[in-house]
Point group: C2
Chain length 323, copies 2
């Protein structure tokens, strides 16, 4: 095992994996601040990714941790219909982690950054007892505007780009069986460890005048849908259809093994980082044709109720469905 | 004691202390991203502020922690000659901390933010075993340009705005005597707990064509001076004069009590957040007249050596002074 003995060792490793200049900054790492090149508004987001809170090292490889710590932030930019430009990185570094951990961690984070054209523009390193990663990411409105949540009206289509419930299935299987979960739920495990980013779809959604609002599913439809509706004026509701034929076969399999409803399980979801939004009904066919994978999961109503497959959902959860 | 039982309790408390809109954002907190209003380049910095790494709760009050977590970030903007605009806040929250901690924490952070016109533009909350604060701050070039480190040439004046060595004296006294340190070193303790921010001076420095480069003293002159020189081309050196008559009487008193050199103690410094930079010799008198408190501490040389009060300083430290 190879010790990283100083801050300079870390900075050298970071320089190996991340270029310090690109068109998104006029001053890169190494000064009191970096300088973001900007002639327009920027969107910005900041997330914490902490050991034993957001991930476990028992089933997240170093490369998975490096990927997901940055990915969950990129997803916030995608959820604004933005193009990510760069990020700042804060690392809380436990003394036990040696270069065998950090090389694949940075390699994987760097590959994701490169894929989306992000520059690493500074940050902070500190010792600590538990591994923690704090990322701040910024982006531009490549689609001509940013898409906030809400802005929907009754009759609008609710759509998803990406799955609901796969990451939750992966998480629960990993918590139950550790890395063996991969044998039975390979795609759901992957969806939890390495959620795919939907930047291109987000930008196309921002380009379309038919799209009203957008967010990403980080806490699951059950929690994120009321937040989306809450950003609209008036007392909106929604009718959601999650047909078993639309759900991934691993979700169906998992739900059957636990004797639970696959649709309710998918509705609870969490960490899918699918894009979730509303579009006008008359423009949705055109939108679907332009963005492969976009699919309707419901409609906006004006009755202040959330129905899942025809049954009313209340904030208390599925134990309290009205009959 | 009053428990904060949910993320919503925290968000409500944050809303109580921080307005969610001002001219620096076009979209405030509560969406996937906030949107920064910007027609020009922005400078950005990110720091971690972690319990038992950067502060101790045994002698930092909740209000001190809230102040300093934001202050060290504002200082990075000041060190670019920038005007801070806003910040994003990541909190790692141990379950033991109740609202009696968080009220003064947010109140103090909010007072500092208000003083400098900063908006809180989002962030992230998470549970954790140790208290940690991760701040990302951004700013604009109110002085017409940003000041990076370096850019000095032989003959330039090295200046300070603020003290060297007071925060180190305060820190060592607090580590030795806890809160009783205040009885003997009241101003040095205050300099460690509540370093004053030098935003106005930084902007005035950026406005002057005589100023070559600027940084803030976060690690002390001994470590920060070589970093400053390293950003210049060529093999620059510096002659530093730290006369005892210029040092705070509490530093002199501390050094005498430990039988150490007050000048060397001040040169080691750390966490003073004084502004440190270089200016052309012919413009320095004019600069000093414009910026109260600015004072010369040395000159840039071309001989690749650092002399403190005439004695050569090497990276090994003061035990290795050449005779």
């Amino acid at each position: 095992m190879t010790k990283l003995n100083s801050e300079q060792d870390f900075l050298t490793l970071i320089d190996k994996y991340f270029p310090s200049e690109n068109g998104h900054v006029t001053l890169g790492r190494g000064d009191d601040c970096s300088i973001l090149r900007s002639g327009t508004d920027l969107c910005i987001s900041k997330d914490l990714f902490l050991e034993d809170v957001h991930f476990r090292r028992s089933y997240f490889s170093p490369a998975d941790i490096g990927y997901k710590a940055l990915a969950v932030n990129i997803s916030d930019i995608a959820a604004m219909g933005g193009q990510p430009c760069g990020f700042a990185l804060g690392l809380i570094i436990p003394p036990s982690l040696e270069s065998e951990f950090w090389e694949p961690f940075f390699q994987s984070m760097s590959a994701l950054a490169k894929q989306h054209g992000l520059i690493l523009a500074g940050g902070d390193l500190s010792g600590g007892q538990y591994l923690g990663i704090s990322v701040t990411v910024w982006g531009e409105a490549a689609g001509g505007r940013f898409l906030s949540r809400g802005n929907a009206v009754p009759g609008d289509i609710l759509f998803l780009h990406g799955p609901a419930g796969m990451a939750r299935t992966g998480l629960l299987a990993l918590e139950e069986s550790g890395t063996k979960a991969t044998d039975f739920y390979p795609e759901c495990v992957q969806a939890h460890l390495r959620p795919p980013m939907r930047v291109a779809a987000g930008i196309k959604l921002a380009e379309s005048e038919h799209v009203k609002g957008l967010m990403d599913l980080s806490d699951g439809l059950a929690r994120d849908l009321p937040r989306f509706l809450g950003c609209c004026e008036g007392s909106l509701g929604a009718r959601i259809s999650l047909d078993e034929s639309q759900l991934h076969e691993e979700i169906i399999h998992y739900a059957e093994s636990k004797s639970i409803s696959a649709a309710e399980h998918a509705f609870l979801g969490g960490e899918d980082y699918a894009l979730f939004g509303a579009a006008s009904a008359d423009g949705f066919a055109e939108l679907k044709a332009k963005i492969p994978g976009l699919h309707q999961i419901g409609t906006i109503t004006g009755d202040n109720k959330i129905l899942l497959n025809g049954k009313e959902y209340t904030a208390g959860g599925f134990d309290h469905f009205s009959k």
